[in-house]
Symmetry: D2
Subunit: 346 residues, 4 copies
């Protein structure tokens, strides 16, 4: 009963097979393997973006930090939400890779609104040499609290950014989960919605460790390559990244895995509605559930073998409410979900 | 006939199997997987260093840059040879990860001598606030030209470093190949020879992408962990790094693979002695061969399907001499070596 | 009628004379001039801190950024208020000099409370490798809105910092103005109140451009010297910094100038109480006044030749209220103040 | 008898007077003072460069580091000589301000030749993502050993740079001394010779602490302003920098002071020709003299009260030869020079 994270499960079999299939003979190193040529073509096709610059790295933080480094000057600020991964979970990787840029926090919640974004940008209007200069807008889709921006919401945010001449970057660590929920095309959720660059996550959705970075404007390509090497993120045996991504995309494995993860979460959420004293903190929209319950119920689950995170994991009274985060990946079985629900109701 | 690099071949079967064996069920993320506990214990045992801090990253450049970042202040200089990987092949990753440290080049050749090291250190003796401050000594074993420092040579270098209070770091991308040549223990070649920290390479010797960073003084542990995360090099599905390293070390696979690579190179070198007009630039000591030959012979090999690098790959006259670099990994077959030799002699 | 800033006026005659007195003959460069020996002794005496490390730089931003760089690791966060100079007015100098540290904003106002500080520190309690690590607490005295922390308030803040093992840094660009208001000793307002390091501003109080950086723990001395040189802030003709500071401190010029500035502001504030429709945003406590008034009154002052800043300098309706910032230095004459008041009342 | 450095003397009276003349009343801060408008116009006129971007900073290291930061990407290398100030005397300020660029050392001597420059650039021709990328060429005029590049030599260097598309930066800490020797116009020695940007030193030639940074292409202006502020080098009371530079340039004071310094050095050199056992290391071309002599003669001078630097200041035998560096500024009197010569001959 492991709901701690979607980075705890195994590879999807199609990904593992692709990796093993690539594990024979000699191949050119450092990203010029023929498999990467396939991957680039795949991604350009999927995104209807024949000119896009496409690169692979092994971690989501690398994707975010390198992409933002490419889009941000050291004296600029990145606009993001307080809960964004780049602000909370990357130990200053964005600050490091941008050479000391700042993160300016938009709104107070997990999702930013266009009005909040505009207000925060206007906050920095002095435009003189003393203050932080305006930089990229960073949007996380699926958000850290499991929420999803609609296409209209994305469009509203990118319109504000465009108005101020700022580029937009989408942290797509759970890109596929969002796509499945919105039931739209990758192009719809990115460049057609005004997004300039994104990460396309593989790691949380069935890969061992691979994320694509995509710039719709290929002018960034060479600088990104230099930044990736300088950041020590260029793999010599790059084929093992390429192969994962090929296996992930080929035949729609990525969407199939995300569908499975989302529907696992839906099954879990449906069952949780019957658990006494449990309340959803956010309406689950993808593969994450945030719900509060009395601590004694949590203790019961914990003792029963359920593994998941509490937000603010502190000691407290038995009747105090705590918030749990449950994440489903594609590999969780219905059996485990049902066991968890039985335990929760018990 | 692929002799371009030891980062072009496949995984050793034992490594691939270990990776696949780890590919099931849920595991804690970010380096606290139980496999990593095994790896840490393995490495501490192999190095007779029960207190050592042990970490895994996916690239050799990450290992070098993060380790040097931990050992170097931004106003210090790293002492290394002009041909060292950190100087020539890492696109300023060391400068980036140290926050702007300098590399001070020792000697003019591939290997540094203790006298050259001392002279270079003395060069910076002013000790005032204006100049670069003295920092770590970086030693590459096997060197970029395929040479090996004897234990005596290592000891002489670390003695000079110690005299000036400077730490020593060993770039061990080909650590196993050197160990096989020297026929000594890992402890002999490291802390018993005065080395403070090292990378233990896996990628060039049968892994997909994994290097261990080892500090004999565990005081560096927490800072290294922060630097690794900030550098975006902490894997969420860390088990896939751990598993590679476990498969690599278990049962001596790493030494077996390095022996195979070295003896492949020896077989190749022996055969090359009969090739007309060919001269060895360096006496081959591990798994790399540098030899010069007339350009028309190179053209003949190239047309015949042999793949390898030329140093300074420029156009020129047919009788001009060029230098080729031939690298053998464990996976090259005797058949391919013999085919190459036949072609070279033809 | 120039109330734009206390960095717009001339040197105090005592400072100018000291500078000119030093302008003869040869002197050792780079901070080892004999005048600096005097300055060091003066400051150690004034602060009752015979061991303190004392350095001079030419700008307040240099003092802040270099001192914070010395006290902060790149993966740590500095706790400060949203309006602090380091957050709003230094174009990422703190991020640059710390190698990418973050600023964590405490509270919503100009002054932070101990409770707000504790809450913000607790926010980052996860203590794992993913999040920002806790770093120094930065306190501005006089604050950017002209307010002053009492000794009790300072003590409460530093007690919280100490509880978490965090160092405290005081941005003392207007140190003398605060000292005059609190009528206490420099030691009272610093190390006796738990402050570890500070800047002692000269520029805004009668110098041309000089600030002292003081560490009560001299262990930071050599690192600071290296950081100052690396930041290009070590003056070759350092005597011209030393001389300013000597003239500033000698005979109590610094306190006399700050008293004059504060009492100029008090006179101005007293007169403003009679201006119709004017309201103080903050009770003036040192040499700055923030007051709101209808835009048409501002326009009247502006046309009449008064020079000062508006917060959020935008177009608007004549009856909309705007907030003006009036700053007095020691050199403003009573005549100019009275002229301004006459204009304001007219 | 102070010949230690040209940063040890006082201000030229014309500079001191200009500074004092500016020390009255209120002036806008942060570089928009009217005196700066004059200075900008003066410099544009003197350099026949009506579009040039012109800025002031207080130290030569700041000028070099900020200008190179503007011209260099973090993954590029700066080409300079081993003895250059940026390599030897700036404690990694260039590395810091460029975000980790490398310095590639050209030649082995104090002056680089066009052939050496070309060879060093070609060394880095691989052009792949692994190695350092080519960046600006940095030329020091007067060199650290007191030598001067002729206009032909400058032109030859910039032609090589241009061929490779690399910008050129001139460290002009002693610009005026070189100009006097070459007897050419500032335009001749800069943009007409192919120089893209330079520092125009004031500090070593009669100012207290001011250097101009000049970009002939104004496209760099705004980035430089942001970098200057972020580096904490923007003076609030900027008028005191402007006033120094105005006093320095007005009426040709800068050239007059440099002429005096150079002719002081010529007088000293002429006299030294009669000193037994003394040999010039370099033919003196501006205001610096390097000469070797037996240690006992140095000891004699030292005991007699002469102050200057030895290169490599170590203990040794009385008849061992040591090299002394003698620097003259404008303020050394003929009397002191003659006293020194008498002592040297005695």
């Amino acid at each position: 009963m492991y709901f701690a994270s979607d980075n705890s499960g195994p590879m999807h079999p199609a990904v593992a097979q692709a990796m093993m299939a690539a594990d024979a003979g000699f191949q050119p190193s450092y990203g010029i393997d023929p498999i990467m040529d396939d991957v680039r073509a795949q991604i350009r096709g999927i995104f209807e973006a024949p000119e896009a610059a496409v690169y692979l790295v092994a971690t989501g933080t690398a994707a975010n930090a390198l992409a933002l480094g490419t889009l941000t000057q050291p004296w600029q600020t990145v606009f993001c939400t307080p809960l964004s991964h780049i602000n909370v979970d990357e130990c200053h990787a964005p600050e490091f890779y941008t050479g000391g840029a700042k993160l300016s926090l938009v709104g107070t919640a997990d999702k930013m609104s266009a009005a909040e974004l505009r207000a925060r940008i206007e906050d920095w209007t002095r435009g003189d040499v003393h203050t932080s200069q305006r930089g990229p807008v960073q949007i996380t889709q699926v958000t850290e609290m499991g929420r999803i921006y609609t296409l209209e919401e994305l469009h509203a945010l990118t319109s504000v950014a465009r108005e101020y001449g700022l580029p937009t970057y989408l942290d797509g660590a759970r890109f596929a989960n969002a796509l499945v929920t919105l039931d739209c095309t990758p192009a719809d959720m990115t460049w057609k919605a005004g997004i300039d660059a994104l990460s396309l996550g593989g790691t949380k959705n069935g890969c061992a460790g691979v994320e694509a970075v995509i710039f719709f404007d290929p002018a960034h390509a060479w600088e990104f390559e230099l930044r990736r090497k300088r950041g020590a993120h260029l793999f010599s045996k790059h084929r093992y990244l390429s192969a994962q991504m090929r296996g992930y995309l080929e035949g729609g494995t990525w969407l199939e895995a995300a569908s499975a993860a989302n529907s696992n979460a839906a099954r879990l959420a449906a069952g949780l509605r019957d658990v006494p004293d449990l309340e959803f903190v956010e309406v689950p929209e993808a593969n994450m559930i945030f719900a509060s319950l009395p601590r004694h119920r949590h203790d019961h689950l914990h003792v029963g073998g359920a593994v998941y995170r509490l937000l603010g994991d502190r000691e407290g009274a038995a009747d105090e409410r705590v918030t749990m985060r449950l994440v489903c990946d594609w590999s969780i079985t219905h059996g485990l979900i049902d066991d968890f629900l039985a335990l929760a109701r018990g």
